[in-house]
């Protein structure tokens, strides 16, 4: 996590209301039952789409380790990744408590929440190691 304050806008308001309650909200198409990524714009048909909590678990499908140079000249390493939620949508996120030198593909993870200024945002931590 970068410690950057997150500022909500109209598009993210419902999602961030969810994270404030420690819920990761997806969008559900009530006509088809399909679960869509949080970024899906529900305003195109408010009667058709609803926000529903995800299970909060998923699998790492890609990862990177970001290197940041600190003021003292040292470098810190920060794992991030793309998590495929068990409901299907992908989420680009920070990975906490994982080995940055390990092969993280297929790692099972679960959501946690952290403050980012006045808002709360999700990140993911390891559950167990399984191969894809």
């Amino acid at each position: 996590m970068l410690g950057i304050p997150v500022r909500r806008d109209a598009a993210t308001a419902a999602f961030l209301d969810g994270t404030a309650r420690d819920q990761f909200l997806l969008v559900r198409d009530t006509q088809t039952g399909t679960l869509l990524a949080p970024q899906f714009d529900t305003t195109i048909d408010p009667d058709r789409y609803e926000h529903v909590p995800a299970a909060g678990t998923g699998t790492v499908v890609s990862w990177s380790v970001v290197h940041r140079r600190q003021a003292d000249g040292t470098t810190s390493r920060h794992p991030v990744g793309i998590v495929e939620l068990d409901e299907g949508p992908w989420w680009w996120t920070a990975l906490d408590g994982v080995d940055p030198d390990a092969d993280l593909l297929g790692l099972r993870v679960q959501v946690a929440f952290a403050e980012a200024g006045d808002e709360t945002i999700p990140y993911f931590t390891a559950i167990e190691r399984t191969a894809l």
Partner: protein, 387 residues
């Protein structure tokens, strides 16, 4: 309506790199003047102006006034990120074909670098935003470097692509840059060992997997082939083009990192041009990262899908004298970063036969790619010499 064949008749480029104290519109205006002069035309001949800019956001249609252009028949600002330059040439070509305008200046400029400011801050500071993008940035994914690293990792895990494969691309393009006096890395060769020893930006990307950051501008003049034949420079025909914008990449299991828009746009552009892939002499691909070049070359079909890593690392494949003439000016990795105008510029130089020490022998057909977003937007051009 009879169609006129379009051609690029003028090319202008400003100083590139750490050129401080000038705004993007100022770079753009100079590039347009240079391109118009290069064609043997006057600014008063210009009746169309298409423009775009990078991260600073200072470019706009006020450029018409900056240049003192009046009575334009075509004027707009476009944005398809790295795919924009080739897109603008496509729309200019269609305007020439239809007779909407006759002499269209197409320009791209940016001024992200500020004196005494770290290069990384030039882009990262602007990438933090509100909304979804802000959430992603606060999660640690705050730059294109990391987003493309996530794409590259998918390719590595699926196909066995390695950092060594990426390194071969970086080294080959640096070799080309040693033959290009305007390249920012001219005079600074790179070995594979130096590539591996360079610091990490976002694993798996080392510093030399990532493109340069440059201030400057590049412009071309698009007109009809018949008119171009009467002008100063060898005409560069715009033979074919296509775009591909997959949409919703990275939101659900898809080909993110595995397939780019080149797979769709390439065949359509070649078909329009009436050219087959093996007739392409020179390839100028968008190389914001080594990985992007690899993926794009796979998707056009120059190497088999998934085998780009080992195939492009074969001795004698890339670099000066190599089998594949790719990014012959050094590309965005080693020459300068004018987004999509980097491959456009070198494509025009090569098609004209004006590459000097780096000029390739056969240059009748040149493929140019543009790529924007995080593999979200793609454009392809097929350029050609006058037969």
């Amino acid at each position: 309506m009879s169609f006129r064949e379009p051609a690029i008749a003028g090319l202008g480029i400003t100083a590139q790199g750490k050129v401080y104290g000038r705004t993007a519109p100022q770079f753009a205006a100079e590039a347009v003047r240079l391109a118009v002069h290069d064609a043997g035309l006057n600014l008063t001949d210009v009746d169309g102006l298409l423009m775009s800019g990078g991260v600073t956001g200072s470019m706009g249609i006020h450029l018409q006034g900056d240049l003192g252009l009046t009575d334009l028949k075509l004027l707009t600002y476009m944005q398809g990120y790295g795919s924009t330059a080739a897109q603008m040439i496509q729309y200019a070509s269609m305007a020439v074909q239809s007779g909407m305008a006759d002499t269209i200046a197409v320009v791209w400029a940016d001024d992200p670098l500020k004196d005494k400011t770290r290069v990384s801050e030039s882009y990262a500071a602007r990438s933090v935003a509100t909304g979804w993008r802000g959430i992603t940035a606060a999660s640690g994914i705050s730059s294109a470097n990391t987003m493309y690293a996530l794409a590259a990792r998918r390719h590595m895990k699926k196909y066995g692509t390695t950092q060594d494969h990426f390194g071969h691309i970086a080294v080959a393009q640096r070799e080309w840059a040693q033959l290009n006096p305007i390249a920012q890395f001219y005079g600074t060769p790179l070995t594979l060992e130096e590539y591996h020893a360079s610091r990490y930006i976002a694993e798996p990307f080392h510093l030399y997997d990532c493109c340069l950051v440059s201030n400057g501008g590049v412009a071309v003049v698009v007109t009809s082939l018949d008119r171009a034949r009467a002008l100063r420079q060898p005409p560069v025909r715009v033979l074919g083009w296509a775009q591909a914008h997959p949409g919703n990449a990275g939101l659900r299991n898809d080909d993110f990192g595995l397939v780019s828009g080149a797979a769709s746009a390439g065949p359509r552009a070649l078909k329009m041009a009436g050219v087959t892939l093996d007739e392409i002499d020179v390839v100028e691909v968008y190389d914001c990262y080594t990985f992007t070049a690899l993926l794009t070359l796979e998707d056009y079909g120059f190497v088999p899908k998934g085998e780009g890593g080992p195939a492009l690392s074969e001795p004698g494949m890339l670099g000066p004298g190599g089998k594949l003439k790719v990014n012959t000016g050094g590309g965005e990795l080693s020459a300068f970063y004018m987004w999509g105008m980097t491959p456009v510029h070198e494509g025009v130089v090569q098609a004209r036969g004006q590459g000097g020490d780096r000029q390739v022998e056969r240059h009748d057909r040149v493929l140019v790619s543009g790529n924007g977003g995080v593999l979200d937007y793609h454009s392809t051009l097929i350029l050609g010499t006058d037969d």
